[in-house]
Symmetry: none
Subunit: 127 residues, 4 copies
Amino acid sequence: MIVLNYADRTPIYEQIVNKVKEMVLLGILKPDEQLPSVRQMAIDLSVNPNTIQKAYAQLEREKIIYCITGRGNYISGNDTLLKNHQKEILEETKKLVEKAKLAGVSKEALVKYVEDEYQQYVEDEYR
Amino acid sequence: MIVLNYADRTPIYEQIVNKVKEMVLLGILKPDEQLPSVRQMAIDLSVNPNTIQKAYAQLEREKIIYCITGRGNYISGNDTLLKNHQKEILEETKKLVEKAKLAGVSKEALVKYVEDEYQQYVEDEYR
Amino acid sequence: MIVLNYADRTPIYEQIVNKVKEMVLLGILKPDEQLPSVRQMAIDLSVNPNTIQKAYAQLEREKIIYCITGRGNYISGNDTLLKNHQKEILEETKKLVEKAKLAGVSKEALVKYVEDEYQQYVEDEYR
Amino acid sequence: MIVLNYADRTPIYEQIVNKVKEMVLLGILKPDEQLPSVRQMAIDLSVNPNTIQKAYAQLEREKIIYCITGRGNYISGNDTLLKNHQKEILEETKKLVEKAKLAGVSKEALVKYVEDEYQQYVEDEYR
DNA sequence: GTGGTCTAGACCACG
DNA sequence: GTGGTCTAGACCACC
């Protein structure tokens, strides 16, 4: 289900966190659905259980999952994730625009980039 | 001239690299202009000379400066920096759009974000 | 495995870089094979860990190895090294010919030099 | 007469040495011809007199020039330079072939490279 | 345990 | 004076 990229510099536990977030956003993981246990996932990904533990801990801190001791970890039903994600996007847009101006990219050019990329992703969906 | 942010987790030497790149892009540093010596900059920023050395080494690798041993470090005249920067922007736009779609942000909304931010920076210039 | 030449004025870290490249080209080091850790190699070669770090950093920059923090350094699978090496040879051939002409060495003489040396290396293989 | 390349890493004094050697090989500087004085050349090249002194010292060590104290520096008449140059070429050919074999370049390919480059230089002469 | 960054202090070649 | 390399020893994040 989750594929790790060892060549990538981002920490393993963060890759897991990101992947779970993505699956929640895409609706692959639904509220109150149970996640694999720490040990099971550690085996599945051939990774140290500590690493999974760290990933789950962070997901819990961000209220994306909730944990019932002795039972397991479950997807949280709230939509905080969506709002956080949108805030993040706003910030990143800010940084991107800052860079673009520095590089002499005009507003029109940048907007065109965005539109082109957007289009492409829409097409990808139907292919 | 350069202000370091110790709270930021990006390495000191990278902060320096980025700042120099920015100053080159903005035309503050011009081709064949001499940079402060490794030692001098180390004193200015209250940082170890090796750290400056590492920053300058990376800048040289990226052809943004050239160095004459026993003489000093100088800004390189080529415009590769600009081209690289523009490529980088394209890539980041791609990632941003990917995230936006995931978060259910419509194309129109994202384009509006970009335009708004862009406008703001233009206004900043004249204030 | 690696023997350093302290009499040689080429920096230690560069000697290491060259040796690793050579071993990759010769197929002694294979893709995804793990290199000794920074610390271990530092002990093996009786050299400071920072020196090894510098060598590994350069190898990573040249995409000859990739590194996973907290895990280790691994040989990269791409064949960019081979292509770069061939380009380098073309450039050096150019310089050599320039020198030869300057010294009044005829084309035939130079070609003979090359053929003789080549032959010798082939013989070396079978001895 | 001599153009220095400050961006190049090779020491200034060595660039001067090489240029003088080249001019001797090309017959631009002839036996017993007087070279500019240390001071004059230092002014011409906008360089520290020590640097010129070092270059001349090395040229004298290699018997390419001889110096009469209080009179000046003169081109040496012997042809040792030519022989040294040819020896050097032999050595470099050896190294080049070594590299070529490592990179899997066949004898035929390398010889072709050499012949092609040689041809080009001959054509350059007549253009 | 791993790699990554930084400091402190030293030596060298070059100008 | 300049940059370039190296050593020694420290701290951090990650696994």
